[in-house]
């Protein structure tokens, strides 16, 4: 899939989509530009989560903590202590990375099973939300309002909707590049080796602790940065929007439907489903609240049962089969075998 992704990234189709995305503020109505901005937030989160869960095979349900730190802490630092939000973003990302390193260390130290890891991170997520609700400094249950956007770049203000779109666009692009870089450097190979068989990876000399910590720190810092960026877009932060475990569960569903472990899977999954969900919510939200989540739930079951490697892999296989001279692509078959 990796080479497929690179091929796709160098293809004119990708650059056409990229150009369309960059110029979105010029041709989209304000409402749909908002939808696109929210989609970019989830794309970034899904890609950041993909580093740990998709490439590394560690099913973290605690990433909402990092979104919360990024969104709530940077806002609180600005409002309560007057710390510039650029610096606040860096501080929040550093704290998230430290928390991530701690979780990765726990995972290594206690040799947690996949299930225990998921449960522990879920417990951290619940504790994180409770801590945010109870913390006066972070705004508590009532949340915090960011100061109005005057368009001063030095103060992390980007001049309204278009600027915020580009902010989220850049942040999720960073997540995309991070995924591509990791997949093509030794770290990506180590992580995939650990995902497929941890004992075997250790036996051939992969440093488990080091790689787990690095992957989790990168993922946590990127997630935190997405949180800060989204806080600026939203203008209002509260624990239910930023630190709720539900945020992670949504990201898990989006990324899995798209296809874990690949770059395009989480990207396409989150992008498509958020836009679809927002439109359904806009049209039918008053009559049938929750319909888009209901459909997401049905989709993930269908995807897991029928195409466990995600929709994008399925499409890529079909694409390859149509365009390759050979009917069977041996690389895909080999990769299917290792994934399952």
């Amino acid at each position: 899939m990796r080479s497929g992704a690179l091929k796709f990234l160098s293809s004119p189709v990708f650059w056409l989509i990229f150009a369309a995305a960059v110029t979105m503020p010029l041709w989209l109505s304000p409402y749909y530009l908002g939808v696109a901005t929210i989609a970019l937030f989830y794309i970034g989160l899904a890609l950041a989560w993909n580093i740990v869960a998709g490439i590394g095979g560690q099913m973290s349900l605690g990433h909402s903590v990092f979104v919360g730190v990024g969104g709530l802490l940077s806002s609180a630092l600005l409002l309560k202590l007057g710390i510039n939000m650029w610096l606040g973003m860096v501080i929040a990302a550093a704290i998230s990375a430290a928390l991530g390193a701690f979780i990765a260390w726990l995972d290594f130290r206690f040799r947690l099973s996949h299930l225990s890891f998921a449960l522990i991170t879920l417990a951290f997520a619940e504790m994180g939300q409770l801590a945010a609700v109870g913390s006066e400094f972070l705004g508590g249950a009532s949340g915090l309002f960011l100061p109005p956007d005057h368009g001063s770049l030095l103060n992390f203000e980007f001049g309204g909707q278009r600027g915020n779109f580009y902010l989220l666009f850049t942040a999720s692009l960073v997540c995309l590049i991070a995924n591509l870089v990791i997949l093509n450097t030794p770290l990506g190979y180590y992580l995939r080796a650990m995902r497929d068989n941890e004992n075997a990876a250790q036996a051939i000399g992969v440093a488990l602790l080091r790689n787990k910590i690095i992957a989790m720190m990168i993922s946590a810092a990127l997630t935190s940065i997405m949180g800060t960026a989204y806080a600026r877009y939203s203008g209002f932060v509260d624990p239910y929007q930023f630190a709720a475990p539900h945020v992670t569960v949504e990201v898990v569903l989006f990324a899995t439907i798209g296809g874990l472990g690949t770059v395009l899977g989480p990207l396409v999954g989150a992008g498509f489903l958020v836009v679809f969900g927002e439109i359904v919510r806009g049209q039918l939200g008053g009559v049938l609240p929750g319909l888009h989540f209901f459909i997401d739930g049905v989709l993930i079951i269908v995807v897991i049962l029928l195409m466990p490697r995600g929709v994008v892999s399925k499409i890529a296989e079909w694409w390859d089969r149509r365009h390759a001279a050979a009917p069977e692509n041996p690389k895909i078959i080999a990769e299917t075998a290792t994934r399952t």
Binding site: A53, G57, M59, L106, F110, L112, S113, H114, L115, S116, A118, L119, I120, L122, A123, F124, E126, M127, L130, A131, V133, G134, S135, P245, V249, V252, L253, T256, L288, P289, G290, L291, F293, F294, D296, G297, V298, L299, I300, I301, I304, L305, P308, T340
Partner: protein
Amino acid sequence: MDDILVQALIQGLLIGATYGFIALGLGIIYSVSGVINFSHGDFVTLGMFLCYSLWSVLSLDPYISIAITLPVFIVIGAVLYRYLIQPIVGVHMLMIIQLTLGVSFILQNGLLMIFGGQPLRTPSAFEAKLLFVTDSVILRLTLVVAFVVSLILACVLYWLLNRTDFGRSVRAIHQNPRAAALMGINVTAVRTITFAAGFGILAIAAGLLLPGTPAHPGMGLRYTVITLMVIILGGMTNFFGIVLGGFLIGVSEAIGTVYVSGIMGMMMPYAIFVLMLLFRPQGILRRAS
């Protein structure tokens, strides 16, 4: 002051029996198929809403509704296992977590679409009845009913697991599925039956918990987390451990709401949960059986 403590203790023990009972359902499912159902709590919510519908349409008491919801849940459990879970058992643990999270999404939002987001109350014959233990220690009769029924059914389950051929095949599969299959046990059938039984437990528990509890579509995750805490305290598959874990969670919840205020009190169960998973994954009782 002492009366408050006694009241909290008794109330915690009563509710804890039902928690333990729900967790036994998850525990036996886990012991034979290694599946953790992240939609467990959402099925409790579904059971509550079924009872609510039966009350609003036929004005049935929740306790009587159990006679209808129980067979429905047994069928749901069996179908869910055969057609959704079984195809991916053994593929990857993550897939099962994601799939059951998807089921949880469907239930939660399906209920939201049908019933709306308002908490709904279902009256019951016993709802208003109170039991006076002493002058100041007062208990709701519904809690006592839930306690007694849960404990009796837990005893029945124990008898089933330890004194019948079906129970022996369950324990055999828990020890070694392949060897069990070689001994002529139909592994798929036993796993399907345990799933059905685990869901039947949820239908009963939903009916028992409903009187006095307002039902809300979003409350499922809380029950799932409580159940997970109980079975982890109990050591995943240890019968007595799980029952004891239910009592511990029930009592700590009741005492916590009385004595510990603020977020530290609310975070306590999760902190205990994390520490247990790290330092005593085999549960509070040492022997894992």
